[in-house]
Symmetry: C4
Subunit: 230 residues, 4 copies
């Protein structure tokens, strides 16, 4: 078996840093009420080697430490760590192998996003925040069983039709989000739940006014290129 | 009256440890928003004697300490403790006497689980998380008055028809959950509320897509046998 | 003007203690999400004199201290305190003058209780917890303007028809709750919001099963006389 | 470029104090659950010069410090700060230039207020709290793209028809609130979400009883002139 000792000092230093980052980002899942008990997981792909750092399987959030994070290669094989990796490891790995710009993946069962997923409906684009972050509706992906890379395939296939969305709501399951690093994917998970909740509440009040496609395009263009600190 | 002094040193040591555990798990009920004020209770059966440790009746969560936890036998008779035991003691005891693998019982009135219970409807199985944790719908149990073992009987009878579910929603009352220890029963209580909330929200959006029984069986099989740290 | 110096040392000691208690119970309103910003107030009547201690008007919760609490007589006249008393002081005072067993009053605008109040509907009794705490439905009281004792009159009149309920939902306004002391009234406020939320959620799922009056009576009898530590 | 050094010592002292205030008020947005991740912003206009202090763009709440706050003139030009100002700066500036009594502006995407905005409906006035704080319904403003002063214009135009309301729900976007200082605008943002949530919940229960205009006027008159500490 390959171990971390087979990797460069630079990679071992990156592993240390990413373990701390990924452990700490699980705290953001709790902070924004995206997970219950042990549900949900965050991973980040390394820059210096074809490796990723991911949450261990079935460990309560109180006990997640940098040391408990698991290192695997991009086929999901264990490289370093004393715990078994998340059940969703093969799906995270599939996404990294097939989406070159993606270096962070998050999965939750956040309540309102998952409610949309249980009815098989995309979240309609009725918020400027959705134009900004998703460039349109948040799409539902196919039903897939857990434990293989089948979920990852479903995510990648769905995003071919929704290239501006960082989120897929896997049917009957919950959201998977992607980003340029784990923090961006966690932000996408928080935003997915927020727009799912808001659009859900709007639906109960009557007809949602959907935003014209031309305006969605302008919002997305500005947000992706101008917003934030540059 | 039998007292703790009549038990072995080993049992007295287990009582001490389980009192700490049960007191601390009440904090998890608060953390996951499953209880208000004094509502809700956790118990754990001992391994070394036919005893259980349970919450005292009507004490605010701020004042729950290991020392305030109550020890009873499996008929619900007081064995040790300065407070009166929970009103639900006879029902916890009934469950332990009649379900040999169960060593933890939890009762809450968590909002969305109790909403389903007030309409007498099972929570339909529209989430992979429900396949995993419950192996199908979460069942409603009969209406029962409080204060005798009648509730415990209702729980045991209902679970005969739903052997994979760790939860019963007692009609007009709230969820009772079981587990191999108190922590597992608390986890089941948290998961019951989460799936109750998510399925409730999905119902407001339209038709819930229920998962095929064959897929539910596969999800449950994998989760119960493969998931987590082994 | 009468001042605290005109009262006995025993009363001055009780004022000190009740100021601490009432200030601290406002923290429970926040803990159970019953108030936003400065909305909501708690008072307690004294045992040793016809006085009450109540929240000052329009002060943010962060700045509520025992010293900022206001002492008035049971007509609502200021007796001690550097701040103006709550706008609801005359109504609290009216309740104390007209309900001899009541020594605690709480008012909130908690979300779901107030939603029922805005539609003028009693909360139907579909929960054993409601049988326990309210002995039936939670009643709606009349519409009343703010700033006089008119609200207090509306509370007292409504409770004549619902003598077991510690809560009235004032139409278009929010809940007022009573108790044998301020803590009991705060508990009633927390329970009112919890049952309002649960029954609201149940209503969205279909028909609420209401509990038979005979069973409600048995639940209430047991809870009021047997439950808790005696 | 004009810099802070071109202003009086008194203004530089005010900038220091307002930076602390505005940074700290962003914590209130979190406390009352009005924002997710970096969404939402607070500004305050200065008393001693035509300047304002506003949140930097796209910075996580954990990293907001007084030093990171940005100072601009009332055209939105940068005067002091190492970060780019909020995308909504031009709109805040427009409001200050056109509403002389306004010294605080807040923008959030709080869930229930934004849900009303996504359906283009005013929040009907069914709460005494709304009579108090808003003097009637909370109005919806027009759809506007982000990044220019167009949103600010929409806010100012809408408030001409609703002169007692401190809030406008910009269609498909979210609430903007105003006040005599930033704290008053933050309070208005918290109250907007609370009444949006309560009226949303009431709508699900049936018909909201709207308050007669004459009573709304009396509530508003009393609250604006008598309530609080004077």
């Amino acid at each position: 078996m390959v171990t971390l000792a087979d990797y460069s000092e630079r990679t071992r230093a990156e592993v240390k840093q990413v373990r701390e980052l990924v452990a700490s980002l699980h705290g953001q899942l709790l902070k924004w009420n995206l997970v219950v008990w042990t549900a949900g997981n965050v991973s980040q792909r390394l820059r210096t080697a074809d490796l990723m750092v991911i949450k261990p399987s079935g460990v309560r959030y109180e006990y997640l430490t940098p040391a408990s994070m698991v290192v695997t290669d991009l086929e999901g094989n264990l490289v370093d760590g004393s715990e078994a990796p998340s059940s969703d490891t093969a799906s995270h790995a599939y996404i990294y192998r097939n989406m070159p710009g993606v270096y962070g993946v998050v999965h939750t069962h956040s309540t309102y996003a998952t409610a949309w997923a249980a009815t098989g409906q995309n979240i309609p684009c009725g918020l400027t925040m959705m134009g900004d972050e998703f460039g349109g509706p948040v799409p539902v992906g196919p039903f897939r069983l857990i434990g293989s890379e089948a979920i990852g395939k479903g995510v990648v296939e769905t995003l071919k039709d929704y290239p501006r969305s960082p989120a897929v709501l896997m049917q009957n399951h919950g959201p998977f989000t992607i980003g340029k690093d784990a923090e961006a994917a966690v932000k996408a998970a928080a935003m997915t739940e927020e727009v799912a909740h808001t659009m859900w509440a709007a639906r109960q009040l009557g007809k949602i006014i959907e935003i014209d496609q031309a305006d969605v395009d302008k919002l997305n263009e500005r947000y992706q290129n101008v917003y934030g600190q540059h």
